[in-house]
Symmetry: C2
Subunit: 353 residues, 2 copies
Amino acid sequence: MGATDSAPARGGAGSRRRTQNASMADVARVAGVSSQTVSRVSNGFPGVNEETRQRVLAAMKELGYRPNSAARALKRGDFRTIGVITFTLATTGNVRTLEAIATSAAEEGYAVTLLPVAVPTQDEVRGAFSRLGELAVDAVIVIMEVHLLDSARLSLPPHVKVVVADSDAGDRYAVVDTDQAGGSRDAVRHLLGLGHDTVWHLAGPEGSYAAQRRTAAWQAALEEAGRVPPPLVHGDWSAESGYRAGLRLAEQDDCTAVFAANDQMALGLLRALHERGRRVPQDVSVIGFDDIPEAGSFLPPLTTVHQDFAEVGRRCVDGVLRQVREGGTDRGTTLVPTRLVLRESTAPPPEVR
Amino acid sequence: MGATDSAPARGGAGSRRRTQNASMADVARVAGVSSQTVSRVSNGFPGVNEETRQRVLAAMKELGYRPNSAARALKRGDFRTIGVITFTLATTGNVRTLEAIATSAAEEGYAVTLLPVAVPTQDEVRGAFSRLGELAVDAVIVIMEVHLLDSARLSLPPHVKVVVADSDAGDRYAVVDTDQAGGSRDAVRHLLGLGHDTVWHLAGPEGSYAAQRRTAAWQAALEEAGRVPPPLVHGDWSAESGYRAGLRLAEQDDCTAVFAANDQMALGLLRALHERGRRVPQDVSVIGFDDIPEAGSFLPPLTTVHQDFAEVGRRCVDGVLRQVREGGTDRGTTLVPTRLVLRESTAPPPEVR
DNA sequence: CGGTGCTATGTTTACGTAAACACGCGGCGG
DNA sequence: CCGCCGCGTGTTTACGTAAACATAGCACCG
């Protein structure tokens, strides 16, 4: 007792809280040192006598001391936190990238905070600041289409350190992207190499930059080989949309090879083809993009373009941390290579068999 | 110029930083008010003259003011942040729950921070504190098997407000769980109702509490109907493991109905059955658990038990925030109901047809 | 017409930490 | 033997915010 000497028992209203968390000062008192020494121990700084250090550690343990990250952040001027902005966690890619980001960040001593967008909060009312508007992260990684970011009310405060994953950024931000073009080219060439005259494309939504790049590369690869690109079919990334598109493709008799812009749509496509009696791969070859864990269990197991999401996440973290440490803002684009995974959904076309 | 008057050009080392972010005091100066008034405006408190308020808002805008969340947290004593602990984001359920948590939290003005576990950081060295050991979140939601949590080096600091999702917690924590038992019972009864003699079970990994509960309920539902539970087959949640198990099940001639503990394993099972010439649903009925978005695109579309992950996430947030606001720690268990989604993978057994 | 109460605003202080600086003490070179 | 150096530790201060308290003006009522 006698510690809480001041704080004259006021009216009595609500001075609960306290007796909660021990502070450095408390630890210092118990250990018989100054709070600065506690700070040094807490941060692993050298120049503390081993014996003193042990005494401080013992005091910390006794009191259940936990450093207050708010005070630390306030004093240091940084937060050791990376914000991640993403519209949805419904797509495999976003999630895998997020997971890799969290892991890489943790290794660097950084935490990851999710910054949901487009939550219709009470605008100006409660303070005019969304969580993102607050000073609470040292850097931001954006996993979404940048143009959506623009149209969302969400605008990044100026001078914020940013890396954009899997999107375009009009040279405004640094970008880490999967090599969409290379992967698409590999897919098309693989099918042409099997003897198909041409390759149809089940594209992603028009608003998606990744989808656009895959489409453009598909077209380029075909033209480079002197083939005429068949009409485009669009989906929205979902298996259901792939199914609907597949029903239309199944009616094209000359369609013997389809490059789907992701695995989910490929799954729906497989179902549509199956329902229409078009065998895969005997009648139609199908190739996907992403290599989701289930792709090997499709009927038939799906040949697809493997994306290295973990590497993307890692480089995103490297990118923002470099900016944080060097103080500038980057712009360049980093491409992460893909790898074609051959399974059983592709084969030579019927004529050649 | 003239702003950085103090700070006598020391040795020259590194006094960059500054001229960075405007503080309340800066805004107050520009607006010609006290910083307390700025605070009131920033937090949307009443009792500020409209004209003054506008002047302050204008000053904020001019200076690009953003509240410093560290200072705010330090002063207020809370962080407006919920930590989420999870081993993996590889499973649909975890991710969907996480997404719902993030959304619900945002609506309440809380941010969500990912707390990765088992990162082999430099133990005691840099300070003996993992990010979780720091005081940085107001509450924690655990999305993982609690017994794994115990065995991981990670131990939750005492008195922390916790809600556990989808696991057991030995009455140590509050729990929000899907009604595993109810869903499993519905699945089994549906198959028995179609005329199947019994139902086989493709179980999840033995270490999983959710898997155990599904298995127990499957067994109970069979026994309640006077049927003999066939031997158990275990998978590890992955489609690949479902495939391997499926190859074994395909050899059981008397196996006409299988309840798979999740959709991914059901997918692998479908592939195995297909390869072995066992038609679904004509020869074998298959039912899954989760209702992942792709389930409707399987071959055939999968009948499955729908889990309401969004509701689970919502209740987790409600749970921790109630604890935060009321100051106590809860214990009870909340069950979120499931719903059987009928598609095309179940039918009466061959004999009855 | 003085007091009372309310509104709008200002002043003081403390939150927990860590950087900057100060200090004491023992050893060692000149 | 004096002064300087460096190690280990203590003291002071500032980070940006918001609670608590203080004050000034003004309306209203007895």
